[in-house]
C-alpha cells in the first residue's frame, strides 16, 4: 500500500484527485493539505510515497515547498497554467497534470509511478524548480523549524560554506544547500556580482571599492561589511556596475 497526500489550496481541486484515486486500491490517501506549510509538516509526519502538488499556493508555492523537504517523495504536479513549469517538466521525466485533467490522464500518471524509481529525475526538476522560485525574486530558507521567505533585495551578500551557501541579511545568516554557481547565475538579473570565489555581493549596497594589495580590492557595503574582490571578480563587478 502506498501512502498519498494531496496538497492544493482549492478544495474542489483536491476533491477531484480524491475521486480519481478511488479506483486505485493500492493507493491510500492519508492526508489533504491546504498549503505548503501544512504540506511540509504532514510529509515529515506521515512520510508518504507519492504527493499530488499544486504549484500556485498561498505563502510558498509548490516548488518552494519541495525545496525545503529533505528527502522529497515522488511528486505528480497538478497545475493550471505555468509556462515555466511546463517547460521544466517536459524536459524531465517527472509527470505533471494540467488542470482540468481526465481520469485517463490521471491513471497514466499513476502508472508511471507504480515502480519504485530513482530520485534522479526529481533532482532535475528541483533545479528548474529552484530557477522558477528565483523568478519570484525571493529565496525560501529553513530557519530551525521556521520557514523564512527572503526577498532578493534584502540579501546583503552570499558566502560559500562547504556544501552550503550562507545568505547574509539584516535579520541574520541563513544556510541553503545550493552551489555558488547556481546563485551567481540566477542572481545576476538582480544586480548581484560574484566578486570572489567565495562571495556574491548585492552591488546596490556597495558604498566604496578600495584597492588592497596587488591585483585585489575590497568592497565596503553600507551595512559595514568588507568583502575581498579577486582580479576576475573586479572585472565582473565593473561590468555589473556599468563602469
Amino acid at each position: 500500500m502506498m501512502k498519498v497526500i494531496i496538497i492544493d489550496d482549492e478544495p474542489l481541486a483536491r476533491s477531484i484527485v480524491k475521486e480519481y484515486l478511488q479506483t486505485h486500491t493500492d493507493l491510500e490517501l492519508v492526508a489533504e493539505c491546504n498549503d505548503g506549510f501544512e504540506g511540509i509538516k504532514t510529509i515529515q509526519q506521515l512520510q508518504p510515497d507519492l504527493i499530488f502538488l499544486d504549484i500556485q499556493m498561498p505563502k510558498i508555492n509548490g516548488f518552494e515547498m519541495l525545496e525545503l523537504i529533505e528527502n522529497p517523495p515522488a511528486v505528480i504536479f497538478t497545475t493550471a497554467f505555468d509556462e515555466f513549469a511546463i517547460k521544466a517538466f517536459e524536459s524531465n521525466a517527472v509527470d505533471y497534470l494540467l488542470k482540468p485533467f481526465s481520469k485517463e490522464r490521471f491513471d497514466k500518471a499513476i502508472l508511471k509511478y507504480q515502480p519504485h524509481q530513482s530520485t534522479e529525475p526529481l533532482q532535475n526538476v528541483m533545479e528548474t524548480a529552484a530557477q522558477s522560485v528565483l523568478q519570484q525574486n525571493r529565496v525560501v530558507v529553513k530557519d530551525g523549524s521556521r520557514i523564512r521567505i527572503i526577498p532578493v533585495n534584502q540579501i546583503h551578500y552570499l558566502e560559500a560554506a562547504d556544501d552550503y551557501v550562507k545568505i547574509v541579511t539584516a535579520e541574520g545568516t541563513f544556510l541553503k544547500k545550493r552551489t555558488m554557481n547556481f546563485f551567481e547565475q540566477s542572481l545576476i538579473a538582480y544586480h548581484f556580482a560574484r566578486v570572489h570565489r567565495s562571495y556574491i555581493v548585492n552591488t546596490q549596497l556597495i558604498t566604496r571599492i578600495e584597492a588592497y594589495e596587488k591585483d585585489s580590492h575590497l568592497v565596503l557595503l553600507n551595512t559595514g561589511a568588507k568583502l575581498p574582490v579577486s582580479k576576475s571578480g573586479y572585472a565582473k563587478l565593473k561590468e555589473t556596475l556599468g563602469i
Binding site: D9, E10, P11, L12, A13, S15, I16, E19, N34, D35, F37, E38, Q56, M57, P58, K59, A80, F81, L98, K99, P100, F101, Q136, N137, R138, I149, P151, V152, N153
Partner: protein
C-alpha cells in the same frame, strides 16, 4: 488623390468673379488708350479666357504631380513657359479674329512686353495658389491618416488591456467544474453558466467604452461567485456603496481586474481567511473606488512598481484620461489598499 481646386463651389464662384474683374480691368485700360469697343471687348475676353485656361491646366497638372524639391524654381520655369505660350496663342487668336490689315494687330505686337508681364504675373500667382492649395490638402490628408492610425492603435491597445484574461483563472475554474460534475452536477451547471456569462463579458467588442457602476458591480459579482466556488470559505468579500453612486460611469471591465489582483495578492500572501473590501464613494464629483486586501508585510514579495495587474489598469486610465495620478496604492501593517479615481466626464 486630392480633390481638384474647382471641386469647391465657393472657389468656383470666386474664380469666375476674379476673371470677370480682370476682363473688366483690361477693357478699362484699353478704353483709356482710345481703343474702340469691339477691339477692347474681344481682346479682353480672348486674353483672359486663354489665361484662365492656362491657369486651369497648371493647377490640374499639380493634382497629379506636386513638385516637392525645387518647387519654387518649378513655378518660375513653368510660369515663364506658359506665359510665353499664352502670348503666342493670344496673338494667334487675335490674328484669326481680326481682318487682315487691321491696325490693331500692330498694337498687339507692340504691346507684347506689358502683355507678357501681366500674363506672367497672373499665371505665376495662379501656380503659387495651386501649389499652396494642394500642399495644404496633402498635409491635411496626412494628418487625418495619422490621427486615424493613432486612434486605431490606441483603441487596439485599450481592447487588449481590457481583455487580459488570466489563464490561471480560466483553467482552475474549469477544474472546479470538472470536480463538481461528479459530486454536485447541479452546481457544476450553475458554474458553467456563470463562467460563460463572465467570458462573454470579456469578449464583448468595444461597442461601448463606459459602464455604470451598477453594471460593473454585476459583472464583478459574477466573477466573485466563481472565485468563491474555487476557494470556498477562505474568500470573503464585502462591497460597500451608496445607492446614488450606481449611475456613476467607469471604463468597461475596469473593476474586475483590480479586484482580481487584490484577491490574488490576498489569497496567496496569507493562509488564513481573506476579506476583500470594495468601497465606492464620491469625491469631488469623481468616483472613488477603494479595494482593500490583507497582506503580510514580513513575507510579502517586494512588488515591482504596482504589479502587473495594476500597471495595465494604470495604462488604461492614462489612455482614457491622459492622467497618471488616477491609481495609487498604499499599505499599512495589515492591508494593501488600491485606490482608483474615475473622473466623471460624461
Amino acid at each position: 488623390m486630392a480633390n481638384s481646386i474647382l471641386s469647391d463651389k465657393r472657389l468656383r464662384i470666386f474664380f469666375t468673379a476674379w476673371w470677370l474683374v480682370w476682363i473688366l480691368l483690361q477693357y478699362i485700360i484699353l478704353k483709356q488708350t482710345n481703343v474702340d469697343n469691339i477691339h477692347a471687348i474681344s481682346d479682353s475676353i480672348i486674353s483672359n479666357v486663354l489665361l484662365a485656361t492656362c491657369g486651369f491646366f497648371i493647377s490640374n497638372n499639380m493634382k497629379y504631380y506636386l513638385p516637392r524639391k525645387e518647387k519654387y524654381w518649378y513655378i518660375l520655369v513653368v510660369s515663364l513657359t506658359v506665359s510665353f505660350l499664352w502670348m503666342l496663342a493670344q496673338q494667334g487668336c487675335m490674328w484669326l479674329f481680326l481682318k487682315e490689315g487691321d491696325p490693331y494687330i500692330d498694337v498687339i505686337h507692340q504691346s507684347w512686353g506689358i502683355r507678357f508681364g501681366a500674363g506672367f504675373l497672373l499665371i505665376s500667382s495662379m501656380s503659387m495658389f495651386s501649389l499652396l492649395w494642394y500642399s495644404q490638402q496633402e498635409q491635411r490628408e496626412q494628418d487625418s491618416r495619422k490621427t486615424e492610425t493613432e486612434r486605431l492603435s490606441k483603441e487596439a491597445e485599450l481592447f487588449k488591456l481590457r481583455q487580459q484574461l488570466q489563464p490561471h483563472f480560466l483553467f482552475n475554474s474549469l477544474n472546479s467544474i470538472s470536480a463538481l460534475t461528479g459530486s454536485n452536477p447541479e452546481k457544476a451547471r450553475h458554474m458553467i453558466h456563470q463562467l460563460s456569462d463572465f467570458l462573454r463579458g470579456t469578449l464583448k467588442k468595444d461597442e461601448q467604452q463606459w459602464n455604470t457602476l451598477e453594471e460593473e458591480l454585476q459583472y464583478l459579482q459574477l466573477y466573485l461567485e466563481i472565485e468563491k466556488v474555487r476557494f470556498g470559505h477562505r474568500l470573503q468579500t464585502e462591497i460597500v456603496y451608496n445607492e446614488n453612486m450606481l449611475r456613476f460611469k467607469l471604463p468597461v471591465l475596469l473593476l474586475q481586474p483590480v479586484v482580481e489582483n487584490a484577491i490574488k495578492f490576498g489569497l496567496y500572501d496569507t493562509t488564513d481567511e481573506v476579506l476583500i473590501r470594495i468601497e465606492a464613494t464620491e469625491e469631488h464629483r469623481n468616483l472613488k473606488i477603494v479595494v482593500k486586501n490583507p497582506y503580510d508585510p514580513e513575507t510579502s514579495q517586494p512588488m515591482k512598481g504596482t504589479g502587473f495587474g495594476l500597471s495595465s489598469i494604470k495604462r488604461r486610465l492614462f489612455l482614457l484620461f491622459a492622467r497618471h495620478d488616477l491609481l495609487f496604492t498604499n499599505k499599512d501593517n495589515k492591508y494593501f489598499i488600491t485606490t482608483i479615481l474615475i473622473p466623471q466626464i460624461v
